[in-house]
């Protein structure tokens, strides 16, 4: 471990930026994969706000995670355009296949809901490890897993 030296460097980069806490949190999460609780103190000090305030910001936003994610991150769009193309059935198949509910994580996978990827003319959409897959039928998803696309 680097004793969160990197976190200190990241905070240093953003603390002068007006309203920079969100950008800082993104950078922390990009680096560690989540926002480790040890970094909260560093941010509180750097931005000169209370730990509670930092925590309040982290907990407000869906993007910020306080625990490590699975090796693969699957995000399934739950919004209306994808619903109209069968995202509900798709989601229940994915839940069965991965044996996880939306919002849950195990070592192998993190399964999460998303609300629109802006690809609604090619619904339903699933994002796997940052890559967007359009027009995903339940069978296509199963193939993606079996082909080791995850």
């Amino acid at each position: 471990m680097d004793d969160f030296l990197q976190a200190t460097n990241i905070v240093h980069r953003f603390k002068k930026m007006p309203g920079g806490l969100l950008e800082c949190l993104h950078a922390i999460q990009d680096f560690y994969g989540y926002v480790p609780k040890e970094t909260i103190n560093i941010m509180a000090n750097g931005f000169n706000i209370s730990r509670a305030e930092v925590h309040g910001v982290i907990s407000y936003y869906h993007d910020f995670k306080t625990l490590p994610l699975g090796r693969n991150v699957v995000r399934v769009c739950q919004a209306e355009a994808c619903q109209s193309m069968g995202s509900r059935e798709l989601t229940s198949r994915i839940v069965d296949l991965l044996e996880l509910d939306l919002g849950e994580t195990n070592e192998e996978y993190t399964l999460d809901a998303a609300y629109c990827f802006g690809n609604c003319a090619l619904s339903p959409n699933v994002e796997i490890n940052g890559k967007l897959h359009p027009r995903v039928s339940p069978d296509k998803f199963e193939k993606l897993i079996k082909a080791g696309a995850l």
């Binding site: 309040g56 193309m85 609300y115 609604c120």
Partner: protein
Amino acid sequence: MINVYVPRDTASISMGADDVAACISALSTEINVIRNGTWGMTYLEPLVEVETNNGRVAYGPVSVADVSSLYAAGFLNGGDHLLFQGLTSEIDYLKKQERLTFARCGLIDPLSINDYKENDGFKGLEKALKLSSKEIVDEIITSGLRGRGGAAFPTGIKWNTVMEAEAEQKYICCNADEGDSGTFSDRILMESDPFCLIEGMTIAGLAVGATMGYIYLRSEYPLCKSILKKAIAIANINNYLGKNICGSGKYFDIEVRLGAGSYVCGEETAMLESLEGKRGMVRAKPPLPAHIGLFGKPTVINNVLSLASVPIILDKGGDHYANYGIGRSRGTIAFQITGNIKRGGLVEKAFGVNLGTLVNDFGGGTWSGKELKAIQVGGPLGAYLSRDDLELLLDYEAFSEVGAVLGHGGIVIFDETANMKDQAKFAFDFCAIESCGKCTPCRIGSTRGTELIENQDYELLEELCDLMDTSSLCAMGGMTPIPVKSALNKWPDDFKD
């Protein structure tokens, strides 16, 4: 060299455009692959174009597996093929549009400032630099432009308020949160013509006396982020941003800031909180952001497309823009045809077409081929319309008369398999997930709403809807009843079990 265009927007990339581009590039050293933006004909993506003596001809949707047969068919000379679409400019879907704001999208390489300039880029800015603040604002007022983010507030009036406010620092905030399901027009503009947004923001800065602009971009749009950042850097190097814009001595800077997956942060005051690095809690109004906005300073908040419409308004004149449209809805609006639809994509039209034209003529009916059931217009807070509403004119006032909204122009199509009770329930669920929690009708009411639907207590549901409508602080709680009530009123049978 033969110029071949392969789009590079999120939709075409999701359909394999990067691989197609690589594959075409490998065919011959005579080929120059240009990654353009997208024309917005999403149903044809990846739409590959070849420059011929007669103009650009199109093939689509092209997959890697098609490349060899395209080559054999002589696509480099515009040869015929199953995927042949003819001249791009003659494709009905595109030809029947009125492209003002999106005139360059698809046409150019988004990061080529020369392409941009050769296609009327920065003409609006050059004009604005010769005008006074007041004259710029007046041009926008003349155009009749109303905010494309949803609330349709007159942009010129908003600018005027900020212009008149006295402060040593003012801001331009571009709302690029685009959270509505069924919308991607902001994304397409930013990915396909980023300089247009930069130019629009700079003109806004000149008009109101702001020197700093922020683009609040949703985190779900990583490609937008990288394209915008590159475009901002290029504009800076070329003196279209920075300390001495076009040698005028005026300055303006733009920074991109990322959201973090909160729908309500698209609400303008929640967005300001978020830009300040805080929880995205909605602020009470007044004070208006035009008086006390970002970091307490007078702030213009506009949607991407409101700002991206500014350059052409300045270039061609407010009157020219106002010539399009009907009634109090002037100019054009970008519709996005999505969901269960054959030909999904972006359609920029003057206000005043009817809904059926978009769903049937452009969209080609449902993807599944099953009966059309419901159409949600204007995002998750918009009404569900039915087949009986296809004659409805797409115009702010015509929509509000029937209790619907145009919002950001998203149109989501559902076929007969949709269950409207599920859709109504989802409206409450979404509100519960995304509520900022500041006021009770929204925070608690949304959860109660889900329960009432489950328990089929529709009398109490009506009461709850009225309460949320009248006593929520912002439109999140205030408009959630719209999709709920429209579903309940139009499809009562769906609610019986």
